[in-house]
């Protein structure tokens, strides 16, 4: 444009236009500088402040019982927090929040009034609270989900399971031992957040996806654990013990079926638990075992052939002055008795004499063979070794103490494993508590199989030893333990506790360990009571616990049909029938109320009734109970002489009459036969003595309407266990 012809305004406007143009160029230049030249720098700054690396939590693996019932799981809990400086009307917010959280107004308002950027209003609250808080939509109040470990059965097997800390890390028991597997791999996302630090969910960049931890399937049987724990607690309370422990193990495999200690704790609330309660005494504590250790001396002499069951020993009438100036005493005065009686009556004097025949080299050899002084290798943390002095450090007195279980120390687990070795025909298995590890889809990633440690003695010696242990229960110190339906092999122990450098005269460790059924052992059970008050003999304190557990476990485990079905139901998770049954039997026992039998099989009903001391009669035919003579919940009408009787009506069979079929009884003892026939409610006529040689009706045939069964018995030519379906009739 030509300025020559422009008027003054236009001339001056031209200057102005130049200025505006210049300003525009400045801004454009600045934009180029910021957006092109400095772009990456600012981009990084934006990224840094907008994206925060945020961990995505991998779920911790579950812990399950052998059937899949959950022993440890995860639940989502919520933490409610507030930024007090962002809350406009604190008093009003406090009113709403206190209502939503169920807290007092004062507590909420005092937190909101704190001169802080951030406060926790409530930690670890269930979803309904966070939902209520979120519905309020108060600026500056947030609810964040956090995974939290939950143990649905609370005190159940708590020391074995362990617990997790605030960051979900395993701090004890299985949680700690398998922490590496249980802990998943956390993922990483870059989460977009706004200037207030709140996460914007729309645009998260996943850097690494999270990987959930493996689930641990234990060998624990929830039902057996429950039985063991309930019975142990009763004794613990009754005898006002300092502590009590129980282990139930499958001797053939080394699988731990149950493990419990009292006093116990709830792992959901480990923070308010004293350190002492967290100890798993079964593996963490060692002590002088006392009489239960006599097993090792006995196996030694039998295996070495230096003593036979009928060899006689003079038990010095209760006080044995040894050559070394030490006096060994018995709890009762015994004279000249056989080795069988020495063991059965638990004579210390006799055992010292037996041990002298064995010699210290051999005694030491058997101590080591049974694994004393070394951990059993069970997959639980902090297992104690126990102490066996090296042979060169044995004193002259050692042979007067070690044969009956002093001057050495052992963990309950070592004792259990020693008895399990005898139950398993002399082969010691490594105890283990985890069957397999499964990924989130239930695929087995790693499984643990039974592991043989070593043979501790010959099959024959183990059998002879079993007979000695049976004698203990049949005639010796363990008669309190005897059951009518099953033979039990076991040993009592009443050890003086070694306190402050000397043996206490009034504190004992009473224990009972054994297996059942003696001839074909299903379980080894160990029970110990620390310092029971009143009566302290192992046979009278720990023994009854053993007996009750043995009875209920056998009913659960061995009555045909019952156990597998209960287990399947537990496993399938459709109904925890096994647990329900136990709960019902508990109700029957403790409250004397008739349980609800509806829908149970006769076997299950029978088990339930037996556990609770109720007599059942069955009418009708069928697989399931459809009616009962006394209503569920009604009190059991029974007197001492007349046990309560309930008549159950069996419902229409839909597929077969499996519930009413005769089992195979040939080769069974009378007791076994009775146990097998009990669910059928038959009148049984025995002819002769010994094991069953013939039966009517035959196996597989349905029970006749007359409800009578005839069994011909005879003393077998070989041992009972050799007979079976193929036995001579």
């Amino acid at each position: 444009m030509s300025l020559r012809h422009a008027n003054p305004i236009q001339k001056r406007l031209a200057v102005l236009e130049a200025i505006v143009l210049f300003a525009c160029v400045c801004v454009e230049g600045r934009l180029v500088y910021l957006q092109v030249i400095k772009h990456s720098e600012f981009h990084q700054m934006a990224y840094r402040q907008q994206y925060t690396p945020k961990q995505t939590d991998a779920s911790r693996g579950m812990i399950e019982d052998r059937g899949g019932a959950l022993l440890a799981m995860n639940i989502g809990l919520f933490n409610v927090s507030a930024h007090p400086d962002q809350i406009a009307d604190k008093a009003h917010a406090a009113v709403l929040l206190s209502r939503a959280l169920g807290m007092s107004y004062g507590a909420v308002v005092s937190k909101l009034m704190e001169n802080k950027q951030f406060v926790w209003l409530a930690r670890e609250v269930p979803y309904k609270y966070s939902e209520a808080v979120e519905a309020l939509k108060i600026q500056g109040v947030d609810a964040v989900r956090e995974q939290h470990r939950f143990y649905p059965d609370h005190e159940m097997a708590s020391q074995a399971l362990g617990f997790t800390g605030i960051d979900n890390q395993g701090l004890g028991g299985l949680e700690r031992y398998y922490n590496g597997f249980l802990t998943g791999k956390n993922g990483l996302v870059l989460a977009e957040r706004d200037a207030r630090g709140r996460l914007v969910l729309a645009d998260n960049k996943s850097v690494k996806s999270s990987e959930d931890g493996l689930s641990v399937r234990t060998t624990i049987d929830e039902t057996i654990q429950h039985i063991a724990q309930v019975e142990l607690e009763k004794a613990y309370t009754h005898f006002r013990c300092k502590a009590a422990s129980i282990v139930v193990m499958d001797p053939a495999t080394g699988e731990i079926l149950a493990m419990a200690n009292y006093p116990t704790y709830d792992p959901n609330d480990y923070k308010h638990t004293s350190q002492e309660l967290l100890r798993n005494r079964v593996v963490n504590d060692e002590f002088e075992p006392g009489s239960t250790f006599k097993l090792i001396t006995a196996v030694g002499v039998l295996e070495e052939g230096v003593v036979n069951e009928d060899d006689k020993f003079f038990c010095e009438n209760g006080a044995f002055h040894t050559d070394y100036g030490r006096v060994v005493r018995d709890h009762e005065k015994l004279g000249l008795i056989s080795f069988r009686e020495v063991f059965g009556y638990s004579s210390n004097i006799g055992m010292v004499k037996v041990g002298m025949k064995l010699g210290k080299e051999n005694l030491y050899k058997y101590c080591k063979k049974f694994g004393f002084g070394d951990p059993t290798g069970i997959d639980l943390p902090g297992e104690a070794d126990g102490k066996v002095r090296p042979l060169d450090r044995w004193s002259a007195l050692s042979l007067t103490t070690i044969p009956y279980g002093y001057e050495i120390s052992a963990t309950p687990m070592q004792i259990v494993d020693a008895y399990a070795a005898i139950a398993n025909d002399g082969v010691m298995m490594k105890p283990y508590i985890v069957k397999d590890l499964e990924d989130a889809n239930g695929h087995v990633v790693k499984s643990f199989s039974p592991h043989k440690i070593r043979r501790v003695c010959s099959d024959k010696t183990a059998k002879r030893m079993t007979e000695l242990l049976k004698w203990v229960v049949a005639h010796g110190t363990g008669t309190m333990v005897a059951l009518p339906s099953y033979d039990i092999a076991g040993k009592t122990g009443t050890a003086y506790k070694f306190i402050n450098g000397r043996y206490s005269t009034n504190e004992y460790l009473s224990s009972f360990v054994g297996f059942v059924p003696a001839d074909k052992p299903k379980v080894v059970i160990y029970v110990s009571l620390d310092d029971p008050r009143g009566i302290y003999w192992g046979g009278y304190t720990a023994g009854p616990v053993f007996k009750e557990v043995a009875k209920r476990v056998m009913a659960y485990d061995l009555v045909p049909g019952s156990a597998p079905e209960a287990r399947n139901q537990v496993a399938s998770g459709q109904s925890n029938r096994g647990t329900q049954l136990v709960a019902s039997s508990q109700m029957l026992r403790d409250e004397r109320k008739v349980p609800d039998f509806d829908g149970l099989t006769p076997d299950q009903s029978k088990w339930l009734a037996e556990a609770g001391g109720l007599t059942l009669k069955f009418t009708g035919k069928g697989e399931k109970v459809i009616g009962q003579s006394a209503a569920p919940g009604a009190p059991v009408l029974a007197s001492a002489t007349n046990p309560g009787v309930v008549v159950l009506t069996l419902g229409k069979p839909e597929l077969s009459q499996a519930g009413g079929l005769m089992p195979e009884l040939r080769g069974k003892t009378k007791r076994q036969a009775l146990a097998l026939l009990a669910p059928l409610g038959l009148k049984v006529n025995f002819h002769g003595e010994g094991v069953v040689q013939a039966q009517f009706p035959p196996a597989g045939r349905s029970v006749g309407p007359e409800g009578v069964c005839e069994l011909n018995c005879n003393v077998p030519v070989t041992s009972a266990s050799a007979a079976g379906p193929g036995g001579k009739s």
Binding site: S2, Q10, R12, L13, V27, E28, R30, M45
Partner: protein, 386 residues
Amino acid sequence: MSFKTKNLGSPDFLLFFLTVVLMVSGLIMIYSASAILAHDRYGSSYYFFLRQLLWITVGCAGMWVAYRIDLEALRALAIPGLFLGVLLMAAVCVPGIGRTVGGAQRWFRLGPFSFQPSEIMKIVLVFYLADSLDRRRKMLDNWQSLIPYGVITLVWAALLQKQHDLGTLVLLGLVTLLLLILAGMPYIFGLVPLAVSIPAIIYLVESASYRMKRISAFLNPWDDPQGAGFQLIQSLIAVGNGGITGVGLSNSTQKLFYLPAPHTDFIFAVISEELGLWGAGGLVFLFGVFVLRGFKVAGAVSQREGGTFQALLASGITALIGFQAIMNLGVVTGLLPTKGIPLPLISYGGSSMVFTLFSIGLLFNISSGVKLVSAPSRVPGSAVTA
């Protein structure tokens, strides 16, 4: 006095087109920048968008009126209008009448809406100056004739200072100076207000600690990135993060409460981040074209007999919009210290939008009688007036 329509010519198409483009892009960007904030604060992401739409409607009506009005007849209202503007500005400073937002008492509250009298002040001042300077243009080389303008300037400047509105104060000062110069005041006289205002500005800055902070934050934002420098840094991050192509419409992350006023004073930062250099640079280009076109209209109308008033009015209005835009863009890009200046036609704000549209209506009015021809063909016309 009648305000009946003077002509039926159509406004300058380019100005009209730019106005519509800027207004519509502003509306879109307001929605983009404010949706999350609006949802967070009012529960509806359309809150600001709908209100702005309402103001645009009102503003367009005002623009239509301004476009059809008889400007020469309207001149009679120049002085009463100025008085009304000053009166409103004074009223807003009275405690109880004015409403304080963010420490600044600049608003009247009218039901659910608030209204800023300084926006009226802008247009009535420009209108008054155009009218008065047209009458007195022959005397402007005499310094005594400038005294009334000095007095008037002192009055509104004092009122704006009372409202802590330094941004508008600087804007109106510059526009006043510009109109004086365009009207024929010797350039040398322009140094006087500059000489006066520099110590005054230094005094004003030192008298208020927040202004001092803003200045130091402008010079060195990284000294206090979480405090005084926060706004500027967040703005620069937004602009820089946009890069050449931008992060995409509605994808700004800086608007997530990092930017202090993403839909008002810092909307250009959001535009820069979302639309990148193409969008932001394009917007600056559109504003530049708008301003140059406005001045071109002023220049063309000045060639008309008795066209000085309209030329001054057109220049004043264009300068108001242009200077505001430059100041806002300067602040957002860190070229100027932080001041509360909205981006005309773009930023959210009712008073600003309504009076900007009204002013543009006046500009349309002026442009409607003018033929903007290319330079060679205009030569004879120029010669006539010169």
